[in-house]
């Protein structure tokens, strides 16, 4: 997926990491996703951030509620398919008015070649909003840092749950071999 020329790598993962530094993120929970690969790696190499791999995304919602109870700020990284796993856990975030910052890489959206990703990808914004999570969409790489910074302020200063949806147009769609039946 990554371009051959390293100089052509987009810099938005580094810019999100910089926002994490600026707002004092101390716990980063994630279910691995190719779109988040570099951000996960940057966080894992930072001695001030505890980076935790989850078995399912809802674990991260509960974990970051505990982090806030203990006085730390966190962020949850996931793919749009993971949003569906979190729905009931988000009810605790809304009822208790915990802050939540989640960065969601979108699938099933721009040029998706795996049809199984389409239903949850399409449902992601409405699913989040249905349980009180504020949604910030971003479809241009240059807008990523300001969007994440705004989401972090809304999350931690106004104590709200905020999801930044990073459009598949930014990440690029995964290439699958064309099925013979299509040719």
């Amino acid at each position: 997926m990554a371009p051959d020329d390293p100089a052509a790598l987009p810099d938005w993962p580094e810019q999100i990491y910089q926002v994490f530094q600026d707002v004092g993120i101390r716990q980063v929970a994630y279910v691995p996703d190719a779109g988040h690969m570099r951000l996960i790696d940057l966080c894992a190499r930072d001695g001030n951030i505890r980076t935790v791999a989850l078995t399912t995304e809802e674990e991260g919602v509960a974990m970051l509620a505990g982090a806030w109870l203990g006085g730390q700020r966190g962020a949850l990284l996931m793919q749009s398919s993971g949003v569906g796993n979190c729905i009931n856990m988000f009810s605790m975030i809304q009822e208790c008015r915990f802050p939540l910052l989640t960065i969601v890489t979108m699938r099933g959206q721009w040029g998706e070649a795996n049809p199984w990703q389409v239903p949850m990808g399409r449902a992601t914004p409405a699913a989040l909003e249905s349980v009180g999570v504020i949604v910030h969409n971003v479809d241009e790489a240059r807008r990523v840092p300001e969007t994440v910074a705004a989401a972090a302020r809304l999350a931690f200063q106004s104590t709200r749950a905020v999801a930044v949806l990073i459009g598949q147009r930014i990440i690029g769609s995964k290439k699958f071999e064309t099925r013979k039946s299509d040719t």
Partner: protein, 202 residues
Amino acid sequence: MTRDIRDARTFVLNRREVVAAVLRSRGETLVVSGLGSPTYDVAAAGDHHGNFYLWGAMGGAAMVGFGLALAQPSRRVLVVTGDGEMLMGLGSLATIGVERPANLVIAVIDNQHYGETGMQLGHTGRGVDLAAIARAANFAAATTIETRDELDEWIPRVYRDPGPLFAAIKVVAAPVPMEVPLIDGPHLKNRFRQALLDDKAF
């Protein structure tokens, strides 16, 4: 190999007495209680500003305790939850087993039934061994407790041994009076943070 399946009616420990005995020596321990009877059990042992009672988020108690344990490494964090709640978050045992927070203890009050919904038989009453799962998930120690002597031997370890620790405490499946603690989410959250973080809470 088939496992010996025990009938919960043969258990001797009473859940209220178990939770009260464990919390008697809590000191500055922070406590997260899982949805249902464990929340009532923890409240019945005495309300405390260091208690965070879950009234929902089923399957999330262990991970709330885990995030709290990471944020407060100098404090013990005790999660008191039920077998049904723990089963809904089994993956979190694997996550905690990988991270191995030394200050986290999970106590499952295991009556082998869904006590809040009509006493339907749960998986732990049908051959599933939660302590064995926690052990297999790389917990520092995991045990099943059935007697008062075993409980009394375990309690000092809750506040002393390097974690993560796990115990499935088998209790009799009998109704106990409902003890309803605070329920308002923002109040519970703010009370807990103020007690723990003082002027840094707001």
